[in-house]
Amino acid sequence: MSSGFLSLRGVVKIVKTPFSRRPGFRVGPLNLSIAEGEIVGLIGANGAGKTTTLKLLLGLLIPDAGQIDLVGRPSSSGEWRSEVGYLPEQPAFYEYLSGREFLTFVGDLFGLDSRVLSGRVSSLLERVGIAESANRPIRTYSKGMQQRLGLAQALLNEPKLLLLDEPMSGLDPIGRRFVRDLLLELKAQGRSILFSTHIIPDAEFVCDRIALIRAGQLTALGTVDDLLGLPTGFEIAAVKSMLAATPGGPAARSEDERFTVRVAPSELTRTIEGILSQGAHLVSVSPIRASVEDLLAPQATRV
């Protein structure tokens, strides 16, 4: 993996409210580098500066200072545009167009050959699960369908780099899982992804690294294990009504036939073997460790 596929060096932006004498919200100085094929999650509370960071990267906001490179090229050159895909938070469309018409309009901007474009539009509509509504005006789409259309337009040019602002926002659990799987699939294809979110488990699941942003500053950057440390225990979920026989004993919680057990790392293998030997089915094994929420607390700073 080469470094610097996407990079911000000393980027600063002061976001001012028009007609206000207040000094404005300062984002930066931001320093961040993403390698080719890497997924990085930008995590922060509402108003922390996640969307501003993405807009600075894409030239929608003009930085007051610093240097930005996208796909190895200076952001100001605009030469990266055909190789980058972007999904804004709450994407807005021309709602009188149908989903298919909108994607065709966007494809025209990329200069795609009309036959290639037509095929790609159809396959993307299928892939994001809105093919049946493709010819309906966008104004009739639900929020989740609009989010899926937003993903489709971000993938239309088969980008090397994807910048996604809250891609799971507005989606039901099935939709969230779809996006999660899609991100992993895109990563397997070698694409780089920077996405913002405040749904922390999703970020933990798919990201190679996470960057924490608080009050316009990157306060922590590293792998999930780097930032959260190794698990202090595991939570095992299994199905069958067998509370009395569970080796975890007092820590077990019965819910009909489903139960969970918390064990220390050293007890994990023995406990799983015990559960399986008594005919129960294992549902999940989740690590227990400090959460990303803890790192977002005001006192945490670990860059």
């Binding site: 030239g59 003009i62 025209d108 937003g150």
Partner: protein, 260 residues
């Protein structure tokens, strides 16, 4: 970004703008009222003696001018600002579409909308004239062409304001300039008529603002005065110069605008 792909992007943005504009209630309403006015002209010609064709042509061209200007101001002044406010632009400007191409594409789409409205209104006028056995003469066509140039120029004023300010301010600014543009002769001599009005301001506005009265060939058309093709060429060049300047200024202002 080659010229060919740039032209394709301009065509896409222009066509999308056209689709968006002609679906607006304002467009349909304005064309409907223009037709209504021509029907009124048909009634009015009965109370005039031997002046029926002139009355219809006069009212018809006036309606095309007025309603075309309304379309140019209200749709033009909203073209860029609306996409900024609705954040539709966030999806487009990260594609290989420059801010300059977006503005020019929007303007071309507006011109197409204006052209469509004028064709529809001219059809109404031709129908009204046909009922009194009149024809659509070359001089009438010349007057309509001059009006098309004028209204596209007003549209460019609207687009310019749309790149720099909110919808309300853009409509206000475009309306003020469209009115002042028809009063440039008055502005030139304002210091003589209005006591205390700075002479430099009046003369400055006269030089700076487009003189929209240049495009008014309505009277010549109604009375059948022939319009030399050279005049139309001059008017085309005059309108094009202002349009290019306005779009260039708009693009310059928009280039550094933050899209929040």
């Amino acid at each position: 970004m080659g010229l060919r792909s740039s032209l394709r992007r301009l065509r896409s943005v222009a066509y999308n703008t056209y689709l968006e504009s002609v679906r607006q209630r304002l467009f349909l309403g304005v064309v409907f009222f223009a037709f209504l006015l021509m029907l009124v002209a048909l009634v009015l010609k009965d109370i005039s003696v031997h002046q029926d064709k002139k009355i219809i042509a006069d009212i018809g061209l006036g309606a095309i001018d007025f309603f075309g200007t309304i379309i140019a101001i209200f749709i033009g002044a909203d073209l860029v600002g609306r996409d900024v406010e609705r954040r539709t632009l966030h999806l487009l400007l990260v594609k290989p579409l420059s801010r300059e191409e977006f503005i020019v594409g929007r303007f071309l789409g507006l011109c197409l909308t204006i052209l469509t409205s004028m064709i529809l209104m001219c059809l109404g006028l031709a129908l009204a004239l046909w009922t009194v056995q009149g024809g659509f003469s070359w001089s009438l066509l010349s007057a309509v062409y001059a009006l098309l140039l004028e209204i596209c120029l007003v549209g460019a004023i609207g687009v310019f304001f749309s790149t720099t300010s909110s919808r309300v301010l853009a409509i206000l600014g475009a309306t003020v300039l469209a009115v002042l543009g028809r009063m440039t002769d008055v502005l030139k001599n304002a210091s003589v008529v209005v006591e205390g009005f700075p002479d430099w301001l009046g003369k400055g506005l006269y030089l700076f603002l487009p003189n929209l009265l240049n495009f008014d060939l309505k009277n010549r058309a109604v009375y059948g005065d022939p319009v030399a093709p050279g005049i139309l060429v001059d008017l085309t060049a005059y309108a094009a110069a202002y349009v290019v300047a306005l779009l260039a200024l708009g693009a310059l202002a928009f280039r550094k605008r933050d899209l929040k």
